[in-house]
């Protein structure tokens, strides 16, 4: 496998290209929605960002599993960075969701969007992940704890989703329907490009943070060895 650093410029270029393409498509190519108008365009960012966050959490959980199962030495760091990215994209999901809610219904937050509520719960969960890491000294114990917690997270996603679906029975009636999978060809194409853009952006940021942290770790190791 080639060193991650050699792939980084190519990955960054790809991400930049896709993001530019996606933005262009969203504003110039995708059809204007009859009901919601311009604000509907946020959907093209909001949903891919959400899916990317899920992908980051999933990747983090996979690395966590590798850490526990195969005891791969780099898996803990990779899991941490992936989850970090997931939280960033998660925060963006909440932000774009909030903007969309404001633009569409005039409120900054709505409990009737199951997606948004699920994200809030997950956001809290993964914020606690960082608290857990900060409160334990670096070492095998912290790596084990983080890995196990990441696996809990992955189990929490479907369980929470189900819970929130059930909760809507007695909390708030579902008031709206988001743009479902009945997208026209143009919309779908735009959506896919946006998704690819977000995923490659996440992958780039992931690689950047990883190489930064690895460099940091190497430096500290050398300092220890020389001391």
């Amino acid at each position: 496998m080639s060193s991650p650093n050699s792939r980084l410029p190519a990955l960054a270029a790809l991400a930049l290209g896709l993001v530019a393409a996606a933005t262009a498509l969203v504003f110039f190519f995708a059809p204007l929605d009859a009901d919601q108008g311009l604000s509907q365009k946020i959907f093209y960012f909001h949903v891919p960002i959400a899916l990317t966050a899920y992908a980051c959490f999933g990747w983090g959980a996979w690395k966590a599993l590798l850490h526990l199962w195969k005891r791969e030495p780099s898996a803990d760091l990779e899991s941490y960075v992936a989850i970090h990215q997931g939280v960033i994209f998660g925060a963006l999901t909440l932000l774009t969701g909030s903007i969309w809610a404001r633009a569409s219904w005039g409120v900054w937050w709505t409990w009737s969007s199951n997606q948004l509520v699920l994200f809030l719960v997950l956001f809290l969960f993964y914020c606690a992940y960082f608290m857990l890491r900060f409160s334990v000294d670096p070492g095998p114990q912290r790596a084990n704890f983080s890995a196990v917690y990441a696996l809990f997270g992955v189990a929490l996603i479907p369980v929470s989703f189900l819970a929130i679906r059930l909760a809507s029975d007695f909390i708030h009636p579902t008031v709206f329907t988001s743009a479902g999978p009945q997208m026209s060809g143009n919309m779908f194409f735009t959506f896919c490009v946006c998704l690819a853009a977000m995923l490659s952006l996440a992958a780039t940021l992931n690689a950047v943070e990883l190489s930064g942290k690895r460099l940091d770790a190497r430096l500290r190791e050398l300092r220890e060895a020389l001391a």
């Binding site: 809290l124 606690a128 857990l132 409160s135 334990v136 114990q141 084990n144 369980v159 059930l166 007695f170």
Partner: protein, 212 residues
């Protein structure tokens, strides 16, 4: 089966510890009653029964947190956890025994809290009691597991609630749903699902929490 015997020996130790110290159980009892009284003042006049039902679950959750916060303290003092890990028993037995002990304490507290709730607020039906039982299983399984992790860190009293509450949200949904909705069967099934999923994860991964 030797696994059961190990769990029995370990759970016995936990009951002995509580009997000796006699601090967690009384504290939980007083806490839950005090919380119910606070809720009375926290609910404005004319609040529905539904609102108070929801608060029952908040009371249970935080009372459980109180008990869970202390659950691994004896093991961290004197490094006993290492001693248990060294023993030939399956490491998950440590978690299971501790969960059962916490479950017993929580159950004892609820034997007082539920009637108190019925007296202070509104009656409790069979579905609610079933929901409480199922929720307790999930709370104790997940809570004990997280308590083991939190007790290894620095800010352990702060960390446990942070770790526990997001995971407890589905339990609250299941519990409140079962108490409030007329046909609460779905919520009981959901609670059972939650219990099954997380108990399996806890059982399988406790090994990694206590070894390095």
């Amino acid at each position: 089966m030797s696994y059961t015997r190990d769990v029995g020996a370990l759970a016995r130790k936990d009951f002995l510890l509580e009997l000796r110290a006699r601090d967690t159980l009384p504290a939980m009892l007083i806490f839950v009653i005090a919380t119910l009284v606070v809720f009375h003042f926290a609910l404005p006049a004319g609040s529905s029964d539904l609102a108070s039902n929801g608060l029952l679950w908040v009371a249970i959750l935080f009372t459980a947190l109180l008990g869970l916060g202390r659950s691994f303290v004896p093991e961290r003092e004197g490094g006993v956890l290492d001693g248990l890990v060294l023993a030939p028993c399956d490491r998950s037995a440590i978690w299971l025994a501790k969960s059962l002990a916490v479950l017993a304490f929580l159950g004892l507290v609820e034997l007082v809290a539920l009637p108190a709730f019925a007296i202070f607020f509104s009656g409790i039906d069979g579905t609610t009691i079933a929901a409480v039982v199922l929720a307790d299983l999930g709370i104790c399984a997940v809570g004990t597991f997280l308590a083991a992790m939190a007790s290894a860190g620095r800010a352990r009293e702060l960390l446990l609630p942070l770790l526990f509450l997001p995971l407890a949200i589905p339990i609250v949904v299941g519990g409140v749903g079962a108490s409030v909705v007329t046909n609460g069967g779905r919520y009981l099934a959901f609670l059972a699902l939650y219990d099954a999923v997380f108990a399996i994860i806890c059982w399988a991964s406790f090994e990694y929490v206590v070894t390095e």
